[in-house]
């Protein structure tokens, strides 16, 4: 019935599962992704889910990518349409020549299909109902049955899936065997009744290597464990809640005293974000490493305390798992939309350090580093994740830790130093780097105590409302921020093969899509140098990069080109030379989108592609 040749592709296609939230599909879908990984083929899965627990549509997309492109691709080659609610849209979304997999138990009118796709009907409900009587079992095993059918259609090795089931249900023999049984029910039906395999196939490869499959939120939480966080205060908000939940799980595993069973950490679920950041500020003031995890609306609530942290110079680590705002916005959709809100959070003249990890491995590293930075700089450090990194399993290089590493607790004056007669001024810049010494409460009976306030105090923390004293302090804070430039992770530059006047700046979760887009742009003949920004304040190499290029594209996932604004503002750059490339519909940015928008812009600039000029 197809009038378009079916897509034929090995280890390079996109499968999308359309399900109903709460139907138990998530674990079967995740098992599908993991099974492909076990074939040595990289995958990049993404949850597209509603702000809902049961009943609304949810999708799980698996990009199979031997080439290792971990960004979202766009387009769907095979739709596993399990949700009647979204059927029409799901069917319409399939690429011409693509495949539609559906439950054919009930006949569907031909108008519900398309002529240019291959339709694969498997009577899932009929198979399930003839095997199981319990309604809950029927629902759960239906998912495993379609997984079995897909394994046959895509030429997957069933042994590898069985192995995964074995690991998941280790010690629960009954569940293990019933899952394997369901898998083969689907697989056998497909093998007997359908032409297997399809044009889309999985072939064993060796492209996964030693990489791990992990969510960014879990990696960041583990970074907090390794980075020595002992106090965590948080308030539930999607998509950040799983950071605190993962921190709790990691701590239960790694942070109990083996002898006494006592906890070397304290986790408090606050009554709101104000309390959460207040607890963090109080704990950090008292010398513990503390953090909170939140998202945009939580940042809004925390801003008064963030200002206090800046002015009173109290360390704090805030993990912001960004999402599309506002509170009644799209909490389950991704964006990089809090750049300005965090960089300049709070009242008065404030600036804050932001870290932009690109994947779970960097989320782990930067989370741990954030505590060193917070104590070194005595200020708030934002770890800027987003839903795309935070809540999706991402193939990531393994997490690494150097056992020789000691924590940098920053400039803390001890009782011994005070006894030696060292001059202690809480806001005294003794080293010229803008960073003063602090003391922990309870350090010494007669020396080193001070009264913490915002700014109405002098270098020795004595009360003062003098204008010159205020200005002196504000200038020191600028010096401190300059010091931060050289302490935060530096930008990473990758130049095009040939010298070019064009550059592109990007950050965070845009990374995999950008890497892939560079290849697509090169194919169109456009050469671009790349700079991945990993932190704010910007290192001097950002200014150099801007100076070396006539036009620089700034790719980001928000409407107002917030990173571009920050670059223009902080570097005093002519805005015309910075071209915004923005994507903000709540879906992750794709290589196709980046390549098209930059490519079109390059064409508009009348840049003759090198290849054309030569040929």
């Amino acid at each position: 019935m197809s009038d378009k040749k079916p897509i034929s592709s090995v280890n390079d296609f996109v499968v999308r599962f359309a399900n109903v939230n709460g139907s138990g599909s998530a674990s079967a879908n995740e098992m599908f992704a993991r099974a492909i990984l076990r074939h040595g083929v990289p995958v990049s899965p993404r949850n597209i889910f509603p702000s809902n627990i049961q009943g609304l549509p949810t999708w799980y997309e698996v990009r199979v990518t031997e080439a290792g492109h971990l960004g979202a691709r766009g387009g769907v080659d095979m739709m596993v349409a399990m949700n009647p609610q979204t059927w029409d849209k799901d069917v319409a979304g399939i690429e011409p020549g693509g495949y539609l997999f559906y439950d054919s138990t009930k006949p569907m009118p031909s108008t519900k299909f398309r002529d240019d796709i291959t339709v694969i009907g498997v009577p899932l409900t009929a198979i399930t109902n003839s095997t199981y009587t319990d309604p809950r079992q029927r629902q759960l095993f239906k998912n495993i049955i379609y997984l079995g059918a897909l394994s046959a259609l895509l030429d997957m090795d069933p042994k590898l899936i069985e192995q995964l089931i074995g690991e998941q249900y280790k010690g629960k023999e009954k569940l293990l065997s019933s899952n394997v049984h369901a898998l083969h029910l689907g697989r056998d039906w497909a093998l007997q009744n359908l032409k297997c395999p399809l044009g889309l196939r999985i072939k064993k490869s060796d492209k996964v290597g030693d990489r791990i499959f992990i969510e960014g939120n879990s990696a960041a939480a583990l970074g907090a464990v390794y980075g020595g966080a002992t106090v965590c205060a948080w308030y539930p908000i999607t998509p950040s809640s799983s950071v605190a939940e993962a921190f709790t799980a990691h701590c239960k595993k790694y942070r109990h005293d083996p002898a006494t069973g006592q906890a070397k950490y304290a986790i408090v679920q606050g009554e709101d974000e104000l309390a959460s950041i207040g607890i963090v500020i109080g704990a950090s003031w008292n010398g513990a490493r503390a953090f909170t995890a939140t998202s945009g609306p939580g940042i809004s609530l925390m801003t008064e305390f963030i200002g206090l942290s800046y002015f009173a110079e109290i360390p704090a680590v805030i993990m912001n798992i960004q999402r599309a705002g506002p509170s009644t916005g799209m909490p389950t959709r991704t964006q990089q939309c809090d750049i300005i809100a965090c960089a300049y959070a709070s009242h008065g003249d404030t600036k804050h350090v932001l870290l932009f990890p690109e994947d779970p491995a960097e989320a782990f590293e930067f989370a741990a580093a954030a505590f060193d930075l917070a104590e070194r700089l005595q200020t708030t450090i934002f770890l800027m994740l987003d839903l795309d990194i935070g809540m999706n399993h991402r193939l990531s290089r393994p997490l690494k830790w150097d056992d020789a590493k000691q924590y940098d607790r920053g400039k803390v004056m001890t009782a011994e130093m005070l006894e030696e007669g060292r001059d202690f001024g809480r806001y005294l810049d003794v080293d010229g780097d803008g960073i003063p010494y602090r003391t922990y409460p309870g350090t010494h009976p007669t020396k080193g105590s001070y009264f913490t306030r915002g700014t109405s105090r002098d270098r020795y923390a004595r009360y003062s409302e003098e204008g010159s004293v205020y200005a002196d302090n504000m200038q020191r804070l600028v010096r401190k921020f300059e010091t931060a430039q050289d302490l935060v992770p530096r930008p990473l530059q990758a130049n095009a093969e040939r010298p070019t006047k064009y550059g592109v700046i990007y950050f965070g979760s845009t990374s995999p899509a950008m890497d892939e887009a560079i290849g697509l742009l090169e194919a169109r003949g456009h050469q671009l140098d790349r700079l991945r920004i990993r932190a704010f304040p910007f290192h001097s190499s950002v200014a150099s990069f801007l100076a070396e290029h006539d036009f620089v594209y700034v790719v980001e996932q928000n409407r107002d080109a917030q990173l571009r604004q920050l670059i223009v503002n902080e570097n005093g750059i002519d805005p015309v030379r910075l071209v915004p490339i923005v994507h903000y519909d709540g879906t992750p940015i794709t290589a196709r989108y980046i390549a098209k928008t930059i490519g079109d812009h390059q064409d508009h600039l009348k840049v003759t592609p090198l290849r054309k000029a030569v040929s």
Binding site: V231, A266, G278, I279, G282, L399, Q406, P441
Partner: protein
């Protein structure tokens, strides 16, 4: 503006406590509040209580929010760290500080605006978590620093200095603290040092959330006729249920009173409180009874003072969280970081 320096000389014969400290060692900067402010009397009571308890001054952390009351931690315990934080947020800052180092004594100083209005939520949640602290509200029913607006503890029907009548119902923080599970609840009056000093001392000795509401008239904006937080009004309507006459650490106490009039309360840390009963029927171990007693007297326009409730066997947040005895802020990488071998295993589990 800067402070007037306080002269350092002192009388050579000044009395010393067990640790050899004099009163002066518990003082702070010169107060910048209005002369005659009730808050300064509370400051004096805190100094007195800490002196009597022979606390090492630097082992106290003083934390406050914003307002006249929240300025006061600068006026006592000059060798302690203090934190004048954010309006209404003292409880969260104190909670965090307490989690970081369980070995210090935490003194939270707040006002009625700070705790009953902007910080009502934080007040409530720190109490229900059982943070080991002494939470003092210096309650004058008025916003002093912003010149005389009503606060949420101002009684309905009371008049402001400008003659405006308050039509909103008042929040009684003591009633709320009892309801939320505070394990030490008291009320006192800034003008009644003999009642207040032992209450503060007992609260500091209590392991758990101690709450003291201290009525503290604002002589600038709330000490006129028609106010229910004025010196005259409180003196006329004060109904004390008991008085703490003796509070003597861990030593046995001998009190020369008629049988049945003194009640000895032994706290978790071994300290003992001797309560002289004024209202013979009042039982400070009965939370429900205290709530009823309070409501009955409030209806009659009486301000009940004294130790209203104490649970000598209270637990605190650290016991709920089962945290290690060592303060968390002293733990380093060797105790906190699981190391690379564990990480390798973690990685392996994700393939």
């Amino acid at each position: 503006m800067t402070y007037i320096a306080k002269p350092k000389f002192q009388h050579p014969g000044l009395k010393k406590n067990e640790l050899g400290y004099t009163h002066r060692d518990y003082e702070g900067k010169v107060s910048t509040l209005c002369a005659g402010c009730g808050h300064d009397s509370i400051t004096a009571s805190i100094i007195e209580a800490c002196y009597e308890l022979s606390i090492e001054p630097h082992r106290v952390a003083k934390i406050s929010g914003i307002g006249c009351s929240s300025k006061t931690p600068d006026y006592f315990l000059g060798n302690s760290h203090g934190f004048n934080s954010v309006h209404g947020r003292m409880p969260s800052v104190l909670t965090g500080a307490n989690l970081a180092n369980r070995d210090l004594i935490y003194l939270g100083v707040s006002g009625d605006g700070d705790s009953a209005s902007i910080g009502f939520g934080q007040f409530a949640h720190s109490i229900r978590r059982g943070v080991n602290m002494t939470y003092i509200v210096e309650n004058n029913g008025v916003y002093g620093l912003t010149k005389g607006q009503f606060s949420a503890t101002a009684d309905r029907g009371s008049k402001s200095k400008k003659g405006v009548t308050n039509t909103d119902n008042a929040i009684d923080l003591v009633a709320i603290a009892l309801q939320l599970g505070a394990t030490f609840v008291a009320r006192s009056f800034s003008g009644d040092k003999t009642q207040l000093v032992p209450l503060i001392a007992a609260a500091i000795g209590h392991k758990g959330a101690s709450f003291i509401d201290v009525i503290s008239p604002c002589i600038a904006f709330n000490n006129h006729a028609g106010s229910t937080k004025s010196f005259d009004y409180v003196r006329e309507h004060n109904d004390a249920v008991n008085r703490l006459d003796v509070l003597v650490g861990r030593d046995p106490i001998a009190v020369d009173y008629a049988p049945g009039t003194v009640q000895v309360v032994e706290q978790h840390d071994g300290s003992k409180i001797a309560l002289r009963k004024i209202d013979a029927d009042y039982d400070p171990h009965d939370r429900l009874g205290a709530q009823t007693f309070l409501a009955r007297h409030a209806a009659k326009g009486q301000i009940v003072t004294g130790l209203l409730y104490v649970d000598p066997d209270a637990e605190d947040l650290h016991s709920h969280l089962n945290t290690v005895e060592t303060p968390l802020n002293t733990l380093e990488a060797d105790a906190l970081c699981p190391g690379s071998a564990v990480l390798d295993k973690f990685n392996a589990s994700l393939r």
